[in-house]
Symmetry: C2
Subunit: 158 residues, 2 copies
Amino acid sequence: MNTPTPGGEVAAALGELLVRSSRARLHRALTEGLGADIDEATYPVLSGLARLGPRTAAALACDIGLDRSVISRHATRLERAGLLSRSADPSDARATLLTLTDAGNTTVEHMRTRLADHLDRYFADWPEPQAQAFAHALRRFVDQGLSFEESPADGARS
Amino acid sequence: MNTPTPGGEVAAALGELLVRSSRARLHRALTEGLGADIDEATYPVLSGLARLGPRTAAALACDIGLDRSVISRHATRLERAGLLSRSADPSDARATLLTLTDAGNTTVEHMRTRLADHLDRYFADWPEPQAQAFAHALRRFVDQGLSFEESPADGARS
DNA sequence: TATTGTTATACTCTATAACTATA
DNA sequence: TATAGTTATAGAGTATAACAATA
């Protein structure tokens, strides 16, 4: 059998999803036609700020797993594109708050709805309860199931 | 508001999954401790050959969406690590077949079972039918749902 | 002294182009 | 002439280190 366990099946699917060509396709679907400054590199900053709200580069770096310096450079690109603005943090003169502009929020909303519509068209072929169950399960999985940090017992393979 | 449609929910989850830190975590879970030559770059070549069987660099490049030159360089790394061997293609003297060695196949199998075990431990908390349904749905989604190419009219529209 | 933002530097991965051998 | 494999080059992205300003 190809599908001995749910874990095995999900493992195979994740492997496929991690392949660059799959990711590139998804990213194109997300960012296509939105301007030269929205790409695979700036997207995490843009969506991170949309999801978490205004934050400093250091805080966002911690949140999305990139270095401060990378955030700073991408923020400059997004600022030049008019999607993000920098402002002084009132509570700490060292810090600079990164905030999405109206254009930035609009763009993020545009990306979100476009991909959601794509997916809704795909799920139109699915039985409604099954589509909903899958969506809930996937979110739950992404939120909780990606914590592989704990040492996996088999550990040192020498 | 949180879950307007399945598409919207899946879109958010995919956005999360595409973030580099999530990918890096998954890749660590897959390749950790397997040697310096198995990483995010060589993994697609390794798993591609395991999935598709012996192939030339050109064919594999087409299959996994990387350039021939990239395949060739990673193949060299994997060959040095003893996981892959090159052999002449009997039917075309220009071509070189890339084939996984026994060690290569063992390594792939090791990666696969390790991640599958991880995931099975995670799914142990789920009701069995729900876990199976999710696994099937995810595979179906990855196999069919990633075709977001904007113009379905010009090509194979299933 | 520690931290923030920024910039310079080095490293890695990928695609393009160029070269050789073969169809 | 076209295609396969390989190598050299260039482009992009990230992390590290170093700097000035502030806590």
